[in-house]
């Protein structure tokens, strides 16, 4: 299953890209509308990019009344990414989404590096949101957590149905000439190829710690990358930064993944799930 990483695609501006996905994940929605951070908001670095968009979104009311009906017309399952500044924000939005048939799952963005975090722990937020919705609840975690497997176990105990791994990590880029921060918000979230080994480690560890379904993401740009995330323990993968340079990435990665699987004699993505954890390696056929 191939998704987009939240905030990396506007399905209403690029419906043809969204339709190439198995599910579309919205940009994170907060209780109130947010204009986002002042420019400059993006900076390319050596092996990735920084963004400091700052959760620009129309607020939950704008999403429900305007965007969601239009997104539902695309015919692609919709996951809503939910953000907030207190556990009660997450709970309120989950309650508002619960009776919406056009929402398949909810991803709790517990780790945006560009806004102030809620004071509660990830597990406390999941615990607050859980009773408010029957929908599948995925917890999106930061790879910067001190003990990520422990955090993953805690959100599992609090009722999360799955994990989204990983969000961006905080980074800084300086201007060549002035040595001042290139982003208006100074620090931003780091994504792209440089994030891949970190994301892969997060998936690998959290698969062992929880056995939960995992949407793996972080620097995936090819079918080979996708295969590695499946082998590390992901049940689905999401495309982020690659969508900026290649809007055709969903179809391309899907084809390349099928070729990678076939070359190893694997019947489907499910057969690759967790292969990195097997005691006997799955050897490439001669």
């Amino acid at each position: 299953m191939i998704l987009n990483a939240s905030g990396c695609l506007d399905a209403l501006e690029a419906p043809e890209v969204a339709r190439a996905l198995d599910a579309f994940v919205t940009k994170t929605v907060t209780p109130q509308p947010r204009e986002g951070n002042r420019p400059v908001r993006i900076a390319e670095t050596e092996a990735g990019m920084l963004n400091s968009i700052g959760l620009e979104n129309p607020g939950i009311d704008g999403l429900l009344s305007d965007k969601l009906p239009r997104l539902a017309e695309l015919g692609v399952p919709i996951w809503v990414s939910v953000g907030g500044f207190a556990a009660s924000d997450y709970a309120d939005i989950c309650a508002a989404l619960d009776d919406r048939d056009d929402v398949t799952a909810i991803e709790l963005n517990l780790s945006c590096p560009n806004v102030d975090e809620a004071p509660e722990s990830a597990a406390e937020i999941v615990a607050a949101a859980r009773p408010e919705t029957q929908k599948q609840l995925y917890a999106k975690l930061s790879p910067a957590a001190t003990d990520l497997p422990e955090t993953a176990r805690a959100v599992q105990a609090a009722g999360a149905d799955g994990l989204s791994l990983v969000n961006t990590m905080r980074g800084l880029a300086l201007d060549d000439k002035t040595l001042q921060p290139r982003l208006g918000h100074e620090l931003g979230g780091y994504s792209g190829p440089g994030l891949k080994p970190i994301a892969l480690a997060a998936v690998y560890q959290c698969f062992r710690a929880t056995g939960l379904p995992i949407v793996g993401m972080g620097g995936i740009g090819s079918g080979r990358d996708a295969l590695e995330f499946l082998a590390a323990g992901a049940t689905a993968i999401a495309l982020g930064t690659i969508l900026f340079s290649d809007p055709d990435a969903p179809g391309r990665v899907r084809e390349e993944l099928a070729e990678e699987l076939a070359a190893r004699g694997l019947a489907g993505p499910g057969d690759a799930h967790g292969l990195a954890h097997r005691e006997e390696p799955a050897v490439l056929p001669e």
Partner: protein, 224 residues
């Protein structure tokens, strides 16, 4: 209709300090002057937004100034290589204007050769920071050329205010100055972009008092 395609490099020619990158057109639509394309910058994570410079038969050309790692990579591509091009994107100039006048500064003249062709070679005022940079003015017919310390606003100010409709592209201070003199001008703006098609929200700038994505709302905007 926008599409993404790997286009072969036909030539990469020096024009003063700039590079004129000539690509095979393939099936890519040249679009409206002022629209832009995302060009793969070899070895870089993100493509770079460039407005189309010329649309001769079977070709698309882009005028570049190598100022950072992405534009340096683009200025270094050679015939025989191919780069991915995605576009046309955004909103170009409205061409239904009487008495058009093109006003451009520096690398901001990039969309003018194609724009001039589509408008029947209207008069243009082009400003550059040196005689060397001003060599690029040869790409635009019917141009009055000024070199710093003279600015494009000087000849523009000498014209009667209702003489013409200004279509401008250049650095932000130039666009702001043009806006003062020609409140009904069409101005092409610039912002760092990761995607060019509304996905990243990286190019947001303040338009009419609110932050909007320049790739979707622009890059050509009405001055007033």
């Amino acid at each position: 209709m926008r599409r993404r395609e790997a286009l072969s490099v036909l030539a990469n020619e020096a024009v003063g300090p700039y590079a004129l990158l000539r690509l095979e057109r393939g099936e890519v639509d040249p679009g409206v002057p002022g629209q832009f394309f995302m060009l793969e910058a070899p070895g870089r994570v993100l493509p770079r937004p460039m407005s189309l410079c010329q649309a001769p038969p079977g070709e698309l050309t882009f005028l570049l100034e190598a100022v950072g790692p992405g534009t340096r990579a683009l200025a270094a591509v050679e015939p025989g290589e191919a780069i991915h091009v995605f576009g046309p994107l955004g909103n170009g100039y409205r061409l239904d204007v009487e008495q058009p006048l093109l006003v451009g500064g520096g690398i901001g003249i990039a969309p003018f050769p194609y724009l001039s062709e589509r408008l029947g070679s209207p008069p243009a005022i082009l400003g550059f920071r040196s005689e060397w940079h001003a060599e690029a003015a040869a790409l635009v017919p019917n141009a009055t050329v000024v070199v710093e310390p003279t600015l494009v606003t000087e000849p523009l100010r000498d014209l009667a205010t209702d003489c013409c409709k200004v279509l401008a592209c250049g650095p932000e201070p130039m666009l702001e100055a043009v806006r003062e003199l020609a409140p009904d001008a069409q101005l092409a703006w610039e912002a760092p972009m990761a995607c060019g098609y509304g996905a990243c929200y990286g190019c947001s700038v303040e338009i009419d008092g609110v932050l909007q994505r320049l790739c979707v709302a622009g890059p050509v905007l009405e001055a007033a």
